[in-house]
Symmetry: C2
Subunit: 291 residues, 2 copies
């Protein structure tokens, strides 16, 4: 199944690479990704029920408000899965609405497995024709970066992308990511992403990393240089979670031009008014540009 | 939402702990978990279409055939997700059918996130009343064992369980799991599970680990002692993937009595005949008992 769509087109990729499309969107609009996080409390604040109908109104409102402003939107898959198959159906419609509205999507799923099971996850999120297909998906590499191979290859084939968890700001993440001293787990993931992006030409390859906006000096501490990665750095934590645009520049240094800052609650709290969501998005973008 | 079900019952757990229920099932039936892996090729071999209807016939047939024989069944979530929300609806019916048929379920989802997002995954898989609720779920700890806290606590509260990825047999897994020498990532995960299981009385706590059946000498090499874990060791790889019952005993040593061996293709290849699936399951169980 994964091959069928491109086979019909003689192995031509259906679209430009994800890295190229994301670089163009970041250049045109600014380096902002808006998280679509329908948390129960946010649904209540918006006057919506904590059910599939509430989820759908929330999600489609965010897409409508920010699709022409942000470089990307990032639905948080857990918050749809929490509503079972009905929630996943809302996610399908949210991803379709994002594509129709012309904004890139990042399905924040943090999936990871091995072999034919990993191929099935790739099939779900990165295959042309899949109802859950997104422009990109986040992946978790506990089973090794190379275990993600089916997704890396399917993404390349279909002009889609991945963001691999590397270094996060939650304190308990250190017990895995920082292990290994000068050859830490996080450093290995960054090196593997850099190697993988050599298959891509252009400013950005299609293999990004997830690196928390509030990691402080961890990149220096672990001697991790994100420059050679040449993929987008998805950095959650702008705004409500504590990082300012200036923090991002300090934290990421020379890699700052590849950072795609993610703000969720800082923008979503402005809803349900579409105008207020737009203003919050524009303010956040202005903050990123000024800096 | 996570608290509501047990709040209505005055904080009484709705059922015995997962560890106790699993220990009883393993004692009564033998230490076998049957994987429900509706891979495209298996669907074709069974004469079924690679769609939601085929998925459902496959899944319900496996449940019907093995529910009275195996200690647990383990649907592979990726293979349902691959069919989008329609596939997830089939998974809901498969989990419900397992519960009705009296066999414990392990949703092999390998989920992992932090904070309120991890709480949402816990809500999806471990909350009474969730359409995707399973007796237990597999989790991935790249963000740190402690990042799984919302699932650990909700599982304890609702008499459900988790299996945390620790040490897998795929060669690329070493680049994360083996890092750190005598204080490796995998060893830290095992130690954290052991500490967590101290909240449970009885033979088995409700926090299990996933450790590949074909890891060879890795436990010795990394100085990992699974004895103190006192949780079930879910060991995929019996049968078609290469491990024999004798291998399990050699690999796991003193921890062997806590091993829940998983066989998927070795048993599923016998279908679609229910009688043949039952025979294959009984043969696998006999092999485990003889050894």
């Amino acid at each position: 199944m994964p091959e069928s769509a491109s086979s019909r087109q003689g192995q031509q990729p259906a679209r430009e690479s994800f890295g190229s499309r994301l670089a163009a969107a970041m250049a045109a609009r600014g380096p902002l990704c808006v998280g679509i996080d329908p948390h129960p409390q946010l649904l209540a604040d918006w006057g919506l029920n904590d059910d599939a109908a509430g989820l759908e109104r929330f999600s489609l409102a965010v897409v409508e408000a920010v699709a022409s402003l942000a470089a990307a939107v990032k639905p948080q898959v857990a918050l749809y899965e929490r509503h079972g198959s009905a929630g996943m159906a809302v996610l399908e419609r949210t991803l379709a609405a994002s594509a129709e509205a012309g904004v890139l999507s990042i399905a924040d799923a943090k999936r990871g497995d091995i072999g034919s099971t990993m191929a099935a996850y790739a099939d779900a999120w990165l295959r042309d024709g899949s109802s859950l297909a997104a422009d990109s998906v986040t992946l978790s590499p506990y089973l090794g970066f190379e275990s993600l191979r089916p997704a890396l290859d399917l993404a390349a084939q279909h002009g889609r992308g991945v963001f691999v968890l590397a270094l996060t700001s939650n304190p308990e993440g250190q017990s895995v990511q920082h292990v290994g001293g000068r050859d830490s787990v996080a450093r290995r993931i960054a090196a593997a992403a850099a190697a993988e992006n050599q298959r891509y030409s252009g400013a950005l390859g299609s293999v990004g990393l997830v690196v928390g906006a509030t990691i402080g000096s961890a990149l220096d501490d672990l001697d991790i240089d994100l420059g050679p990665v040449r993929g987008a750095i998805l950095a959650p934590g702008l705004g409500a979670q504590g990082a300012t645009p200036a923090d991002l520049r300090t934290t990421f240094g020379a890699a700052y031009p590849t950072v795609l800052a993610t703000s969720s609650r800082g923008i979503l709290a402005a809803g349900p008014s579409l105008a207020a969501l737009r203003s919050a998005t524009e303010e956040t973008l202005a903050g990123l540009r000024e800096d």
